[in-house]
Assembly symmetry: D2
Homo-oligomer: 158 residues x 4
């Protein structure tokens, strides 16, 4: 790996995301990582709506989350996303959710690219995905959609 | 109206449904009412999966909820559902969510038909729906799916 | 009413919010309106976290939603919020959810104040709330927290 | 390990749980596993409400899910839960979500104990938890709540 580039997306914790422990319910991080990955794809020129219009789906095969600190109502949370695995048929992402200060929210569209995640680490996660077609049969992306594979390869730093 | 028949479905409050006020977040009642209506349809011989296989959808046009008492984690909640409006193109349901005692959960599949709702009233609600086809164009059910309309009419007591 | 001022908050539809009708599930609008109301309060100098630190809660008594058009995955949705009822013990909000173009997302923090809602109307909604203390007993805000009532009154245009 | 005993809880897939791929969104399994674990605890004489009344919380440290087959709207899903790690300060659960036939739903309260999971495997999962007190400080359960530890040990088969 020569250099890492992270995509970052910022959002606030909503009331609905808390539970009676007064912290964010752990299942919400799974949604946050999905939003991180979706925004990563948009920024890479691969909005997921375009992917689906090519007849491709990208279901989740495997999910892992490690929880370090709790997030609270109204916290600003930055979701950092990075592509960490790429093959002809699979894709993997790594995520960090970090609490940041309000004043750091300066970018339009809540989204940016940075070199080093900042803020207090709340959780890390990873997901593995497989390319399938509309009938849920595995698809080799370099053959089926070479322009998508080229864009992904460009973003892959390992 | 000669007689009312209610469909009842029972479920427990999950941890995920609580918020930091230590009560069930108000948006969950919307999901509960949907489950009540889905189970009502199944019991009427109209499982929603069958409705969709006929190319029909039943989107929500209007939703109202009145909240009276809070529900708490682990409460047993009975969702009472009744058809309260029926025309060639529309359908309306009325709901009551009530807290019941554990010992009242005696039926298989969590579901039953009764004449009078019991338990402590938590919330009431209503939804209005319109029949549309796969292209979201309005559909007259008596013409398009007379067997469905006949089943609905049989359940309609007003 | 002399002039209306709307608070607007913009967000994207996430994949999790869609259902198998390929549109946003109707229950999500309830969450969106909560986010709109929370952001309205923050902008009014009343972040909900501060309200709770004063020992006050603001549960929902009544909820109404009317659905006009479907929202789709990846749509940019603007949530417009306005205070439409205010008394010593109650509060009411009115909401509009509208689809907007991406290019209209130009403000930091996704939030702004405007005079006239723009975009394609998806749904309208309203909620009624009551002020209660930590024991869920009704509270008269002008007596219990006059500084909060003053801020609310300033925003109330009817 | 001499013998395995699984707790099983059955529920139906609701419409809200589907997404526009027409399958259950992957984040819902996290909620299902929580319900499985909660019902496991209730059956073990440790309803989570009792645990919290003793001033104990059981936050999630680690979550893993592997997805094998999709679940669809209206499917009957059995969630199988087993305690697979136990120490003075930690607890681990293992889960399987399986699709079963409707006719297999014969037990009251949707819950039972069995020796061998049945049905088509949809996903497996595991969670690791730590005992903490109301201030989120780690707690040694054998000292702090010996009756709870005794009940857990009785259920632990490794």
């Amino acid at each position: 790996m020569t250099e890492e580039v992270w995509h970052v997306h910022v959002q606030r914790v909503s009331y609905k995301e808390t539970d009676q422990m007064r912290v964010v319910h752990h299942a919400n991080y799974v949604n946050w990582f999905e939003i991180g990955r979706t925004e990563w794809m948009r920024e890479s020129g691969l909005p997921y709506s375009k992917v689906e219009s090519l007849g491709l789906l990208l279901p989740v095969l495997d999910l892992q989350v490690k929880y370090f600190k709790s997030a609270f109502y109204d916290d600003c949370v930055a979701i950092y996303t990075r592509l960490n695995a790429l093959s002809a048929i699979r894709l993997g992402f790594y995520y960090e959710a970090r609490k940041i200060e309000n004043r750091e929210m300066t970018f339009p569209q809540n989204t940016d690219t940075i070199e080093k995640p900042e803020g207090e680490l709340l959780a890390t996660g990873s997901t593995q995905h497989m390319w399938v077609n509309a009938e849920w049969k595995p698809v080799r992306v370099p053959q089926k959609a070479p322009e998508i594979f080229a864009l992904l390869k460009e973003r892959y730093r390992y």
